[in-house]
């Protein structure tokens, strides 16, 4: 029994698109941030799939580094969110609009 690797890639595309949709639609800053994490996860799946395709370990290593970067990004991002919350007492992205876009 086999599964075409293309299915894995399609799954990755689905997750990525849902991430993009959530990034655009959700109004809570933390949920928007979660959407970015979802997109990174989708990319990781694509990397692992391609590593399987090429039989090179490179792709898996890349995923490893993406995880580290995601962890670092989470720390900094959440710190920024905390400073925002302290200043405004809101997590709604539409109310963070001191400056016009």
């Amino acid at each position: 029994m086999t599964v075409p690797l293309a299915y894995y890639l399609v799954l990755s595309a689905v997750l990525f698109s849902i991430g993009v949709a959530a990034f655009l639609i959700r109004r809570n800053i933390i949920t928007v941030f979660l959407a970015i994490e979802l997109m990174l996860n989708a990319v990781n799946l694509a990397f692992v799939t391609f590593a399987h395709q090429w039989r090179i370990v490179n792709g898996q290593i890349f995923v490893f580094f993406v995880m580290v970067v995601a962890a670092a990004e989470a720390a900094v991002g959440l710190a920024i969110i905390i400073t925002i919350f302290r200043a405004r007492n809101t997590l709604n992205i539409d109310q963070v609009d001191l400056m016009k876009l």
């Binding site: 990319v43 490179n58 001191l98 400056m99």
Partner: protein
Amino acid sequence: MTAAGYPGVSYLRLLLMTLPQIAIAATAFLALTVDLATLRKASLRTRWRVGTLIACAGCAGAILLLFLYPQYGSFGDGMLIANPLTRVVQTALLVLAAFTALLSFDAVFTSHIGEYLAVILFATTGMMFLVASQNFLLIFISLELLSLSLYILAAFNKSSRQSAEGALKYFLFGGMSAAFLLFGISLLYGLTGSINLVEINRAIQGRPLTPMLAVALVMTVTGFGFKVAAVPFHLWAPDAYQGAPTPSGAFIASSSKVASFFVFAQVMLVGLAAGQGSGAWHNSKAGWAPVIVAVAALSMILGNLAAIVQTSVRRLLAYSAVGHAGYMLLGILAQSAWGVRALIYYVITYALAAIGAFGVLAALEAGDNVGVDEIPDLAGLSRRAPVLSFCMLIFFLSLAGIPPLAGFFGKFYLFSAALAGENSGPLWLVVLAIAMSAISLYYYLRVVKQIYVGEPAAAAPPMKISRTVTATLCVIALLVVVLGCAPNLLVGWIGSAMHLP
């Protein structure tokens, strides 16, 4: 590269090649430790003085290392490349980092001086790796290292609500674009089985532009387009520029631009040039050319037109940066060594003018103890701070591209490189660029007019500006003038580093 690895990995060589980066990282630690351990009770002024001194000494030391012990060569699968060209860019980055530290002198937005300087220096370490790598793995990591530092720097003023807001927008758009860049890299990896730029280029050579490759190209351009703030990925720029503490803004506008543009050009010209493969890269039009043409044209138009209606100096600088990003993309479009040379000259001189403009704003803030943001705030500045006003005049005229200054020659080289060669960019794009430069003159002069002709608010006394900051600004202004009057100093250096005749 296989799992078995290669026997001849020389760690000593790696150590020698990365000495300048190590020196900067060590300086960051030193600045942090000294500030946290020994200067807790000292006044802000002393702490700035010591910290800035350490940072500048570190940058000077790293530049010395670059010149006294140049270690040219490459290490491990394109992971680290050191050649004369990367040395030019790294030197520029170090000089800009030192200027940023000097311009932060006496700033009042934070009391975490050690952390602030350490983040700047670590960001510089990241940029030095960024420009010296032709492997997507290290490019991605050092790009994220740079981005994280910039988010932190943008949010550093905790008493300002705008600072956190700008940082948040920067961060969210940055995270999104990093995901797109990664998806692009993963598709390229899937197509070629490699994350080394040279190997990717070899593998996509002679292949038709398949939909998968096209999507990979667009996503990669998205990722880097965000870093250089090109339309339509520029949305973060105005808010980050306006909200960030002014010295951080100077860093975001100058140093990170130099590194981002260099790596953008590297990825496009070394890694993806053979996109539509019809032989060697210098006589084929890359598949990404239409995408870059569109992004460049949009950036020029939108950046310059939006800058006209801005009332905040920082937002004006942000939108003008978008416009400048559009011009600089012409250097990548040229797909020639001359294009790269013009691009590097342009981005370095642009960075000098931008860091200078932000530096003047920072000095005014420190001198007045109030925020200077709206253009009318600058009215009559020439009578209150003549030296600073003159520096600002030079920076703005250089940004506008007025002849004896560096900005003019930057545009000249860039546009002529874009027109020369078989691979010339479309003529209409160059015409558009020239037209837009003419428009940009209007909004730059509007600020200058306000400084020299505007009436100051009643009873505004002359300002007290820190002597260090004034001296730094004069040096930057002098550099802009000298590089403009004798452009060959820099262009010749870049050219010889690239072995151009």
